[in-house]
């Protein structure tokens, strides 16, 4: 254990190492001077600088939850082919940065040998942005890593090929907190609770602040009460929409419920400002059962949506752009997903989602 002295003497507030120390010579030379890029094949692109220099990138998929063994492995590959320089992407892929094009094929061969997929660049499905799930979070309604694995197994060919109309970004979040960008993804898989929190009236007064617990509810479903002379809270079950926010604030209100927790599917969000404005993801399927280890209902629902998108969307048309072109009614018709009252918004901005026009297809 660290001694008092060690603790006293250690440096604080030093921040991360300066990034410059991690840039390969080609990047340092051409920093800010890149002219254009070309995508050469799945997972491989080259950036050309105004100096004439070129930098090749090979992108490899990672399960994100990785062991130090895995890290050491990719370090070895980086040493072998890139003088030890590598980076990660904002979607948790690994990027090998190559100064020489000759290294591309051998690197890919090595990666394949290790079972590490190469792809995710251009018009493909990139890695799934995801969260902790049962691996590490108390709040989770499902597992994130497992869902990612089974969905990526299903969609593998769209990572290793560029056969999509446009980029397709999938995200998984294990509860409504939505760590990540689930709320703005082409497809989002979201863990949901579906029953109200259960209140531990014994523990609650001891470990929770009543006013902040009451205030935590977005829908004013929590009221302070007295139980056997002790302060506690009660939940108006008709107003509860299972967001779990009270549980975040007060551990004595657990909401996990194996029988009813599950997964919802959302579609059509995006982040980029390209062509259309950034969009929120919208509800496609309100509930699918938690069926680990391989969630067959989820994978087949996703596959159905992806297949239809691939078949029907135009080039460069993101999922949401495609759906808006064909219209939501058509999306439900094509996918065979039933439109229910759950699909009709009833939160804050609900009123502005109703159809206030006679403009309708069909």
């Amino acid at each position: 254990m660290a001694t008092k002295e060690q603790i006293r003497d250690r440096k604080t507030d030093i921040g991360p190492p300066h990034y410059e120390g991690f840039l390969c010579p080609t990047i340092k030379r051409n920093y800010g001077k890149w002219r254009y890029h070309e995508i050469l094949k799945p997972g491989v692109m080259v950036h050309i600088s105004e100096t004439g220099d070129k930098l090749w990138t090979v992108r490899a998929g990672s399960p994100r939850l990785i062991s130090t063994d895995f890290i050491r492995l990719i370090c070895d590959l980086a040493d072998k082919y890139c003088n030890g320089y590598l980076r990660f992407t904002s979607r948790n892929n690994i990027e090998f940065l190559l100064g020489k094009s000759e290294n591309i094929e051998p690197l890919i061969a090595d990666l394949e040998k290790e079972g590490i997929p190469v792809g995710g660049i251009g018009r493909s499905i990139s890695n799934i942005v995801h969260t902790q799930g049962w691996v590490h979070c108390h709040s989770s309604a499902t597992d994130a890593s497992g869902l990612v694995k089974v969905v990526m197994d299903e969609l593998y060919g769209h990572f290793t090929n560029m056969d999509m109309p446009a980029k397709l970004r999938i995200a998984v979040a294990c509860c409504l907190n939505m760590c990540g960008a689930v709320h703005c993804s082409d497809i989002a898989i979201l863990g949901v609770h579906r029953t109200p929190p259960r209140i531990d009236h014994e523990k609650l007064p001891k470990i929770c602040e009543i006013p902040s617990t009451v205030a935590s509810c977005p829908n004013a479903a929590i009221r302070p009460i007295f139980i056997d002379g002790k302060k506690s809270v009660e939940v108006d079950e008709d107003r509860c929409m299972y967001c779990g926010n009270c549980y975040t604030v007060c551990p004595a209100m657990p909401i996990a419920d194996p029988l009813n927790d599950g997964v919802s599917i959302w579609v059509g969000g995006k982040v980029s400002n390209a062509r259309s404005m950034p969009k929120f993801t919208k509800l496609a399927i309100p509930y699918l059962p938690n069926n680990p280890p391989r969630w067959p209902e989820v994978t087949s629902a996703i596959k159905n949506i992806v297949d239809l998108y691939v078949k029907n969307a135009r080039n460069y048309e993101r999922m949401g752009e495609w759906i808006e072109r064909i219209g939501w009614p058509k999306f439900f018709e094509l996918t065979g997903i039933k439109f229910t009252k759950y699909h009709i918004d009833d939160f804050r901005y609900a009123g502005r989602t109703y159809r206030t026009t006679t403009q309708m297809k069909g």
């Binding site: 254990m1 062991s67 063994d69 960008a181």
Partner: protein, 390 residues
């Protein structure tokens, strides 16, 4: 240990996190504990992590997420399984040496399991024990690493690859991220805000770091002036089979492009700088030369008042060191938030509550029509000036 359910997740072509846990479990009791507990979760369809628990390192309010198992007796390795958020380098660039050093530290004390990276951007160590926290931090610090944010503080800023490898970067995302991270070390390590605060820096409107969806303060590169056209390169794309009419002209949201089969022209005053044409023909088109960024604030996930996207408060700002203008703005917003925000209220929610107009007025920004999609459509105007009768 038998893990029949998890074993199913070693099948199929995509790399398996279960295999990763197993690899770690070979060397670490902690990872072994996790494996067992996770199998149980898969069987029972529920999490076995307890809610929170305050742990940390001395002098820091954030950077460590306490995590305790509710089946710690059954799986002692998982009993204490805290997260350490290590502040990643700008743009997630590493050398193999630096990474190996991190692995060494982590193998020594932790589970050997990491997230490269967390959704906020940190290099995430999963599975530390309370007693080891100070040691780990001492070693990290000695190796020039520091912790990231958690709780009601400025979270670890992150950015896209930017000028390091992207021709589209309108400002130096890595430099700004580093500078901001260093400037606000105190705000990052000692939670004093009403709630979390996230910075994200994207070099251009493609927003490869999803800043518009998940950062309280989004700096998104953009430009003014004319898109530069290399007509020869346009012709080259056309020859190679790009259907410019269909894929570029028709997809321009502001219908600003003309293509007569020989010459491409852009009506730059109509262009909304969406990037599409440039994305499709990067060799032929370059952004205007007057580069900078738009500043947007307030995006977040749904909790509590609903998800928000960031909204424009500065349509265009030059982003150059020492970033004084930007930092003055940040300070003013923080002051505003400090003064007006209630507990667990993100800046975006606060702005919704008090109104963007009042927010702008308080922080001293002139309102402009660029900040809205449309002016108000309801007549409930809070008129502030009026005549007094004598």
């Amino acid at each position: 240990m038998e893990t029949p359910l998890l074993d199913e997740l070693e099948k199929g072509p995509w790399s398996s996190f279960v295999s990763e846990i197993k690899k770690a479990a070979k060397k670490s009791k902690k990872a072994e504990g996790l494996l067992g507990q996770l199998e149980l979760s898969y069987k029972e369809k529920k999490t076995h992590w307890k809610h929170g628990g305050i742990v940390g390192v001395k002098g820091y309010g954030g950077g460590v997420i306490g995590r305790f198992s509710d089946v710690g007796e059954q799986f002692p390795g998982a009993a204490q399984f805290h997260t350490i958020r290590v502040n990643q380098p700008s743009g997630w660039f590493y050398t193999s040496d630096a990474l190996r050093k991190l692995c060494d530290i982590w193998d020594k004390y932790g589970s050997g399991l990491t997230n490269m990276h967390g959704s906020t951007g940190d290099t995430v160590f999963l599975g530390a024990s309370t007693d080891d926290l100070e040691d780990i931090f001492c070693e990290l610090s000695a190796a020039s690493w520091d912790l990231g944010g958690s709780g009601g503080d400025a979270r670890t800023p992150s950015c896209c690859v930017g000028p390091a490898r992207c021709e589209f970067a309108c400002y130096d995302t890595l430099a700004l991220t580093y500078d901001i991270t260093m400037t606000y070390q105190d705000e990052l390590h000692r939670p004093l805000f009403p709630y979390k605060w996230k910075f994200k820096m994207a070099g251009c409107p493609n927003d490869c770091v999803a800043s518009i969806a998940r950062s309280d303060f989004s700096v998104i590169g953009t430009w003014r002036g004319e898109i530069q056209i290399n007509q020869d390169a346009v012709a080259e794309y056309a020859e190679k089979g790009l259907d410019i009419k269909f894929e570029v002209v028709r997809r321009c949201p502001s219908k600003a492009i003309k293509w007569d089969g020989v010459k491409l022209t852009i009506n730059n005053s109509e262009c909304v700088k969406c990037m599409h044409c440039i994305n499709v023909m990067p060799k032929a088109l370059r952004q205007g030369e007057d580069k900078g960024a738009a500043i947007l604030v307030g995006s977040k996930a749904p909790i509590v008042q609903g998800a928000l996207l960031s909204s424009v408060i500065i349509p265009f700002m030059k982003i150059e060191p020492p970033y004084d203008e930007l930092k003055a703005l940040i300070r003013k917003i923080w002051d505003f938030w400090d003064e007006n925000g209630v507990a667990r209220e993100r800046i975006g929610e606060l702005i919704q509550r008090v109104g963007l107009g009042n927010f702008l007025e308080t922080i001293g920004i002139e309102p402009s029509a660029q900040m809205v999609i449309q002016p108000r459509d309801n007549p409930y105007i809070f008129y502030e000036e009026y005549y007094e009768s004598e």
